[in-house]
Amino acid sequence: MAYTLLGKNFTPPDIRGKVTGKAKFAEDFRAEGMVYCKLLLSPMPHARVSNIDVSDALAMDGVVGVLTADDVPAMEGAAQAILTNNPHYVGDPILAVAAIDETTAADALEKIRYDIEPLDFVLDPLQSLYPGGTNAQVKGNVANAGIPLQELKWTARDFASADTDQFPMTGKAVSEWSYGNLEQEFSAAAVVYDESFVTASNSHHSMEPRSAMSYWENGKCFLFGSSQSQSFMIPGLAAYIGIEPEDLVYIAEYCGGGFGSKGAPYPIMALPAHMSKKIGRPVMMRISRAEEYYLGSNRAGFQGRVKVGVARNGKVTAVDLYIVQSGGPHGGFPDFNSAAGAVSICYQPNAMQYRGIPVLTNTPPGGAQRGPGQNQIAMVMEPLLDKAARELGIDRLEIRRINAPNNDTIFGGRQRSVTSAYQTEALNKGALAFNWEQTKKRSGERNGSKVIGVGIGQAYHSAGAAGFDGLLRIAPDGRLHIHSGVGNLGTYSYAATSRIVAEVLHCKWENCVIERGDTRKHLPWNFGQFGSNTSFTMSRSNHAAAMDARQKLLEIAAAEFGGSADEYELGEETVFSKADAAKKLTYSQAAQRAIDMGGKYAGHEIPDDLHPMTRASATAIAGTGLIGVAKDNYALDGSPPALAAGFMVIELDTETGKFEILEYNGVIDCGTVIHPLGLASQVKGGAVMGIGLASTERIVYDPQNGLPANVGFHQAKPPSYLDVPSRLGSDAVDIADPQNPMGIRGMGEPVMGCAASALICAISDALGGHYFNRTPIVPDMIINAIAGREQSHKPLQVYTF
């Protein structure tokens, strides 16, 4: 279908602020009387703090207050508190000092006396599962979303059941599902692989540290924070602060990168609000780079084992997967479960068994990072597919086509269907751009010490949700105000999805205003901006509100000129009679009529099924124009997927273990493309992050003392300009999804995983198909593999250098 706006590039309204420096991020705000706070962070990986004496600090000139764990809500179970007397990792915030300047606050921290008793700590999840192994929390070693804090140990027999350096498969799991006849499928398989693996945890390291500023005014708490999401932040953030959601004014117009770590409310953001309440002055909390490492979360690491059966024709027929997740002291995100779902959808084995267990570790809190679970497991699975292809004599592209998810795909423990899936088309499109048939012949090509490797990678993430609200207003000046509570994580999808409203209402984009980034803009209840969902979810909500406004415009015209609504149509910012185009109202006139008519037209009467936040926002703007407001009640049958394929060529130096990426092409299956340039930027940017995930990034710990070794960019090694090709290729399948009014699905996460797994496969290919059992693959691992030497780490060891 041809659209006027969708599928075309545009200038997102927030980009001008980004290139002029006028964009205000949290640390750019100032307030009259503002003071600064500094955090006292735990120097120990697990400890008990007592006898805190702040008197000397408080006696200092310029110190205005101290906030301790006693001043903030205590958390239940394994949940993370804002401040704690029971720190669970090096860097866990114990207390905060506020002073008239940061220097004084930092000096005051030095004057605080406290007792700190070291407790046993654990970094390696498997060690915590040993009989008698250490628990990361006093009360247990296992927890996650929906999994209460508990102690769980495997038996000595479990550990003995596996060969040395193999992951034991008999230990008790807390999450599991299965379908099909696993034994039968394995025995019928032409090849079976059984690999233990480790995927390292890596830090998010968003460029903008999570600084926040807060003050209270007339009973309301004003909070300037850094978050990917907007409306979704409010309930949880208000709870952290201890107020009703309607008493929170939250401002987050810009977010300097989150990648999952700022998608939902996080405890430390509430700290300046508590401090401000206590001392009665605005409080700025500047977070340093090192603090961002501690507080900014990290991707869960996996230790696991996968057994894969493949039939002679290349079909993956059986998978047995077990994942132990290290997710920090509070459990983190359920990456382990997501990984299993991804395996199921990407290869659709006839039989699959999944078991998982999220183990607590005394490392910084884990959090969702772009493709949490899906992208780790892509790096484990894709090279195994290559292994099967080689052994069975099947082309590596072909084996992926054979297993590619399509519209009939059923996946996961609950055997869900998909709304649509075109991974074969993604593979085909990528192969064409990459010239697969020719390029694959370069595999193994030598040039001195250098060798060419060619790889294909794939990844998946779910791509949408349903049931959120849309809100818009046509003002008497004729301008269309689109209220979006979705947030702004930097993908411009808040703007691209707003264009759906303009498209439906035949509005010029120049006449649209996006209201966002600030509670006071009267925003609807929208889902968080994470999980590749925005394009799907928000476009449905906006479509629903636009259709509501459309109907109201038609009815207003019918009331004005007679006849029924269906005798009228919209065009060029007017509503006109199909029979007599002279009978028309401009949107400006229609908005005024809506105000005059009142009722539902002006937002005085609103649907009952709206979220309270949307109700409040719609009510606040009622009477100011024509109000379009609706909940997304469109049917949703099955899960909308985002699927991606990446194609990569590398030249690997067998003497240094380093490589250069010569070419990369990424293709995404995400339904209708609504913003080509934004999509291209995501495909390429995702690839850059994927390259880091596969080859450089990992958190490293001193196992003896539980101290982190890479808290800054320099050691954490996110890719720079020189680590990636200066040009990257991107494309999209661009086939509409039937369960979105505009055919749109989300896309942000698998574009990272497909590049990461393409790189792993390309490295493996350069080395004749060597399977590394570990990510990232770093140069010394490559050198050891080439030399046939043992690796410097034990197979299941974690947090290695």
């Binding site: 002029t20 300097g256 940017g685 800054g712």
Partner: protein
């Protein structure tokens, strides 16, 4: 009451000498620690926060506190502590918050400014070392009527930024590059901007922006 909106209590009354001395020593330790930790031999102020106590009058042998800086074509008088970095002066004394702090230790380039045509990490430049040199920040690029600099326009046209936090630094590196080399190759641009990290990985689009800007300048 002191002005709490400034980052340093720059106008606070003189304090006793001894604490000042103690704190200065602390600053030196933090400085050395910071240099070691970051591996950045050129890092000047490792951690501003552990600096000397603000607010003292000039002590014997110390530098003049009230100095004139040439920022974006204007002379700005500003009270600067001896250990103050240019990034902090810009952000917290002069209200120029377009210059971003992402690492504060010379690792990422988010705070890049141009001093006499050369890019500098303002987080690792002591303000007192700037002297009479000309400092350009992202705020100095727009024309008198707010019209965008061609580089800024190119960054919009190519959808250069994603989250935007590193963008001012990327643009300032581009300014310095194109002033010196108006027709760079893509590879030259890549190397010129290689001191600017972007966690969103928008490098390709940033380079497209630089090359587009080079066509129109």
């Amino acid at each position: 009451m002191k002005d709490p909106t400034t980052f340093f209590s720059g106008s606070s009354p003189t304090e006793a000498d001894e604490p000042q001395l103690t704190r200065c020593r602390s600053s030196r330790r933090a400085f050395i620690k910071g240099v070691i930790a970051s591996g950045a031999v050129a890092a000047s102020s490792a951690y501003f926060l552990s600096g000397c106590t603000p607010g003292e009058g000039p002590a014997a042998g110390s530098v003049e506190r009230l100095i004139s800086l040439h920022i974006n074509g204007k002379i700005r008088r500003v009270d600067v502590l001896p250990n103050e970095t240019l990034a902090m002066t810009l952000r917290y004394k002069l209200g120029l918050t377009g210059t971003k702090l992402a690492c504060d230790r010379g690792e990422c380039g988010a705070c890049t400014v141009v001093i006499d045509g050369v890019t500098h990490y303002s987080c690792s430049t002591l303000t007192h070392t700037v002297g009479a040199r000309s400092v350009r920040t992202i705020e100095g690029l727009q024309g008198p009527d707010g019209e965008l600099h061609p580089i800024q326009q190119a960054f919009i046209d190519e959808l250069g930024p994603q989250c935007g936090f590193c963008t001012p630094g990327q643009i300032m590196s581009t300014v310095a590059l194109l002033e010196k080399n108006p027709r760079p190759t893509r590879e030259e641009a890549r190397r010129a901007l290689s001191g600017n990290l972007c966690r969103c990985g928008a490098y390709d689009h940033y380079l497209n922006s630089v090359m587009r800007a080079a066509e129109v300048i």
